[in-house]
């Protein structure tokens, strides 16, 4: 739990610095959208944020050599990825944009979004694991 809080604080610090230095919201789905569809310098700012994100994983793996890989059928991952990409852009944010940044700003939209995706995800896990009894972790 302590590591969760420390990790969370680092994420909050990143969102704070990104706002103060770049005047941008640190929402990963929005940054991904910008990296795909903006042009010129604005695109590169987002591409570099994503590169930093990717690089941190490389760096972390060097110290812990623990590479978490999901134990799921690829088709399920593809289906989930499509929903995550489409859904987060449709609602204008994900766990970071609505969750961390939006809730910190006390945005009513973000509050509704977070409540919706948390409950939906909880119900989905329940259905997948306990009703359908698909991939149950050991």
């Amino acid at each position: 739990m302590l590591l969760a809080l420390i990790g969370g604080a680092l994420i909050g610090l990143s969102a704070s610095l990104y706002w103060s230095l770049n005047r941008k919201i640190a929402g990963i789905s929005g940054i991904l959208g910008g990296a795909l569809f903006l042009r010129g310098r604005e695109r590169w700012v987002r591409v570099l944020f994503l590169l930093g994100l990717f690089g941190s994983g490389l760096g972390f793996a060097r110290f812990t050599n623990r590479v978490p890989a999901p134990d799921l059928p690829l088709l399920a991952l593809a289906f989930a990825g499509l929903l995550v990409g489409f859904g987060t852009r449709m609602s204008g944010g994900c766990t970071s944009g609505h969750g961390v940044c939006g809730l910190s700003r006390r945005s009513p939209r973000s509050f509704v979004a977070v409540l919706t995706f948390m409950v939906t995800a909880g119900v989905t896990v329940f259905v997948v694991r306990h009703l359908l009894k698909l991939w149950v972790p050991t």
């Binding site: 990790g7 990963i28 690089g55 799921l72 989930a80 995550v84 489409f86 859904g87």
Partner: protein, 147 residues
């Protein structure tokens, strides 16, 4: 140049937070979402830590300069159907995989096939959404049955 370097640094810091907290491992995420199984509160701890720091930072910014309230500003848009339906779709994908966009991109660095497939599909979803938005803008809402 400065904006590019700070973006790179912020991305790395964000990713470090995800790695340290264990959120790059989808089983830690689904452990929080699975209220009917062996529940773990860690994801709530991550959100709490992040929001505490960011909320305090924004408040400090707004206090420091009373005239600049933009630090706490939101888009001001109303809650609409797109917000709720989008969050619903995202919730299903998140529940199935245990991946939201940030951890998925960090996990690409593992070189494993799973995260690559997920991120590829996620990018396709973003592009698909852009296509839908464009169509609505160009031809009006009636041109699409959905929404």
């Amino acid at each position: 140049m400065k904006a590019l370097l700070t973006a790179l640094g912020c991305g790395a810091l964000f990713g470090a937070g995800l790695c340290v907290s264990g959120m790059t491992d989808p089983t830690n995420v689904t452990a929080f979402l699975d209220v009917g199984g062996k529940w773990s509160p860690n994801l709530a701890g991550v959100m709490l830590g992040a929001i505490a720091v960011h909320f305090a930072w924004l408040r400090w910014l707004a206090r420091r300069d009373e005239t600049k309230r933009e630090a706490q500003a939101t888009s001001g848009k109303r809650v609409d159907r797109a917000l709720v339906s989008g969050a619903l779709l995202f919730g299903i994908g998140w529940g199935v995989s245990g991946y939201c966009p940030g951890p998925a991109i960090v996990s690409l660095s593992s070189g494993a096939l799973g995260p690559l497939v997920f991120v590829g599909a996620m990018a396709a979803g973003v592009v698909l959404n852009e296509g839908v938005q464009w169509t609505i803008k160009r031809f009006g809402k009636g041109s699409l049955a959905v929404r």
